[in-house]
Symmetry: none
Subunit: 239 residues, 2 copies
DNA sequence: ACCCTTGCGTTCATATTGGTCATGGAAGGT
DNA sequence: ACCTTCCATGACCAATATGAACGCAAGGGT
């Protein structure tokens, strides 16, 4: 299977370079080009398409100087450009998710994101492509069923299989995160232990991981006898 | 939340009537209209949109007398009509799945399908809409995160339970489902193994499948030494 | 000022389950 | 009757929360 050709559309030069570098680092993807605004993006897409070398995936920033990402998507469809789109958006623009889905946005990335998140989304997109290609190979015997299509679609959903360090489980991490998010005040390891019914060691390990990842902040709690207790507080979303 | 307005586009009168009847039977959906071909579908969509009462979801048959479904989707986007689309297609047309995704097709139904399959796809679409609506409720504090969006996408593209992947048998699945439904509390894989007299591997495989399909929820059971045991709880009756 | 008490941080072996692979037997097609 | 396909099984290794034991830092008493 040939590599998937990607166009990066991003007005900030630093971010654009970063995305391009990400793409090059990934297997199965190759950078087709880069565009700083909507007009040049559309022009590039048209040129590639006319040359018989179309772009298959567009990394599309929603905030561009000339056009909004949704407009670009709409014009692409109107022009018969059927590249898939992974949207990159700021936190405040979430109310356009549904419109984005309607214009064929396959995945959503919220700024700022780590390389791991980025790689994860692209990997699931590649899996989606592969699963669609496989049953279609045998032209005549292509008895792809509902479950084949379902499975292909399922690989587009993001199970966030970001690699955790050994010894940590995804579901436990989710439980801990949910609990902290709900608490207005800072919580201690012991409180998490009691609330979630897990051992103190486990609770502390996950809290420590979240603190290292920057999701929660850690502070010492003095005043009581005994060794000071660490308390953890949910971080307000970073811009 | 108001009901989701649906337009049925289908040239065969019998099938069209059946789809319309299906829609009316489902909670949360209401039939906005019905069209036998592409031209009238586009006209209806435009009219509804102009009247300030737009259609939100289109059940779109791919084989129509005048236009192909993909063309209709493309023209919709060009005209600024952002209704979501659930495509209905015959088996032989699977090679257009990717193009369909690019034009905003959210789900794929393969003819012939049962009412259960139909209802399942619409239910996951409704869930998707609800999950997007929830975090957006608090206008100012709408700090939906990456995981929120991921979850919404996940429910949109969750595989339907009605199409079994290879390796699973219907009768076994029914046994497992019946057992879980009867249990008030969450059950572990070992309990299912003993109760139904099957091996732990088999029990776990079916439970895992049901969890992926969203029929049961999976949670870890802490408190005892050893690796945490997964427990599964009946989630909601699939209509 | 010193030392004792106190309670959490840290580490390690252990227990128990999750996940994968190749095998066996049954059902259906030829 | 043979072959193919499919599903459940058993045995393996890997994963992960637990409990106990030890160490450490602050409070409080002498």
């Amino acid at each position: 299977m040939s590599e998937i050709r990607v166009l990066v559309v991003e007005d900030e030069p630093i971010a654009a370079a970063a995305h391009a570098a990400y793409i090059e680092r990934l297997d199965g993807f190759t950078l087709a080009g880069s565009a700083p605004d909507g007009q040049s993006a559309l022009r590039l897409l048209t040129e590639f398409s006319a040359a018989g070398n179309p772009v298959e995936l567009v990394l599309l920033d929603m905030n561009l100087p000339d056009l909004h990402g949704l407009d670009i998507a709409r014009r692409m469809r109107a022009a018969g450009l059927f590249a898939d789109i992974i949207a990159i958006t700021a936190v405040r623009e979430l109310n356009i998710v549904r419109s984005a889905v309607a214009t064929g946005v396959v995945q959503y990335l919220i700024k700022p994101f780590t390389y791991a998140t980025f790689a994860d989304k692209l990997a699931s997109y590649r899996l989606f492509r592969e699963q669609l290609a496989a049953p279609l190979a045998g032209e005549a015997g292509a008895r792809a069923s509902q479950s084949d299509v379902d499975q292909a679609f399922a690989s587009l959903r993001a199970p966030s299989e970001l690699s955790l360090p050994k010894g940590l489980a995804v579901s436990t991490l989710e439980s801990v995160k949910d609990y902290i998010k709900q608490q207005a005040e800072a919580v201690s390891a012991s409180e998490v232990m009691e609330a979630l019914g897990m051992s103190r060691v486990t609770a502390r390990r996950y809290l420590e991981y979240l603190a290292d990842a920057g999701t929660v902040t850690r502070a010492a709690r003095y005043g009581a006898p005994g060794r000071p207790e660490n308390e953890y507080r949910w971080n307000r979303p970073r811009t």
